[in-house]
């Protein structure tokens, strides 16, 4: 093998080193108390899919797609265990700084009110993933993403107003 060609193991490690935070966020957001199980499933799917990864595509977007699709399928497999909502652990982790405390607590209550795809959009939005990449990950149009994000923000405002 050409020494300059990275092995599967090297590609796997490289991908994980760049995306570990995002992968972890998806595992926490959809896996709840069983986030470790989901994390392992995501890593396994990345490993299995990596040989088919074409060099020319955006690798990090590809990685996010694998993680998200795996989370959606995994959720259905464990639905009987009623993991449908984001667990408090996620939002508690967000409440790290002083100014994040109030918003983190609200987010903890708000996220479960969203459906799966809206939740995925919020996660990607918080990760600063561009609308172009979000559209590529979800298989929809950039316009539809912008409309949906706008609606989620509106819903958040209304939801917050209802609370107070």
């Amino acid at each position: 093998m050409d020494r300059s060609t990275p092995t599967l193991e090297q590609r796997f490690d490289d991908l994980l080193s760049r995306n570990r935070r995002r992968i972890g966020a998806i595992a926490h957001s959809y896996g709840g108390r069983q986030s470790d199980d989901l994390l392992q499933e995501i890593l396994l799917q990345i490993w299995r899919s990596l040989p088919g990864l074409r060099q020319q595509i955006h690798v990090d977007t590809w990685c996010y797609r694998v993680a998200l699709n795996t989370a959606f399928s995994w959720l259905r497999r464990v639905r009987r265990e009623a993991i449908t909502a984001i667990e408090p652990a996620v939002a508690e982790q967000i409440v790290g700084s002083d100014d994040g405390h109030e918003t983190g607590a609200l987010l903890r209550r708000f996220l479960p009110t969203l459906n799966e795809t809206d939740r995925a959009m919020v996660l990607m939005y918080l990760e600063d993933i561009s609308t172009t990449e979000m559209a590529e990950i979800l298989g929809t149009t950039e316009g539809a993403i912008r409309v949906r994000i706008h609606r989620i923000k509106q819903k958040l405002t209304e939801w917050e107003a209802d609370l107070s």
Binding site: D13, R20, S49, L53, N69, D99, V147
Partner: protein, 201 residues
């Protein structure tokens, strides 16, 4: 609260957790053996089917009467049919590549589950019926006490009914809800598409 305000806090958190590296190392080690496990399961099913066929052929060739031979013909034809259907289903129903865009991924899943529902709901025709006909023919053709024949045939029918009911329940309680959940994701993705032109940001 504004989503934009949450970004810095969110992005400052490390969600990967303490076991991330341990899991990654474990996947590297067992990733390849996982593939081998799937292959061996398929081989076991295929070898079992071939064994049934080989065991039944002497019955067809050397059976004591036409009813006995016809019974085994049903069993062999049924087994070949099962192999054919399952091979076709496996070829068609491969899991979608997990790196597809979500919409496409759900779409492939939906088609795959539809085929599984179709097969599961019709398990009587492609899986059970040849056995339900073949086994009674074989046992009624053997000169033995009718009570024994009745018990054996009754047992075969009871097993077939059990398998049939389990499949119907599986389709109703597992596959259909699963199908609906993937369809719901597609609905969620589609719901804003018509509004794209009406409500641009």
């Amino acid at each position: 609260m504004n989503l934009d305000d949450l970004k810095p806090t969110w992005q400052g958190e490390d969600f990967s957790g303490p076991k991330f590296d341990e899991y990654a190392a474990s996947i590297r080690q067992r990733g390849r053996t996982f593939e081998a496990h799937i292959l061996s399961r398929d081989r076991i099913e295929m070898v079992s089917a071939i064994f049934v066929i080989l065991a039944a052929i002497p019955g067809i060739l050397n059976g004591p009467n036409w009813m006995f031979r016809l019974g085994f013909v049903f069993v062999v034809v049924g087994t070949i049919e099962v192999i054919a259907v399952m091979t076709w289903a496996r070829k068609k129903d491969r899991l979608p590549a997990v790196d597809l865009p979500l919409r496409e991924y759900c779409d492939v899943q939906l088609r795959r589950i539809d085929r599984q529902i179709w097969l599961t709901e019709r398990v009587l025709w492609w899986y059970l019926l040849p056995l339900m006909i073949g086994a009674p023919l074989v046992f009624f053709s053997v000169p033995t006490h009718w009570v024994f024949q009745g018990i054996v045939v009754g047992a075969v029918l009871a097993i077939c009914i059990y398998v049939y009911r389990r499949n119907q329940q599986g389709a109703k309680l597992q596959l259909r809800p699963l199908r609906d959940s993937f369809a719901a994701v597609l609905d969620q993705l589609d719901s804003d598409a018509p509004l794209e032109a009406k409500q641009p940001l």
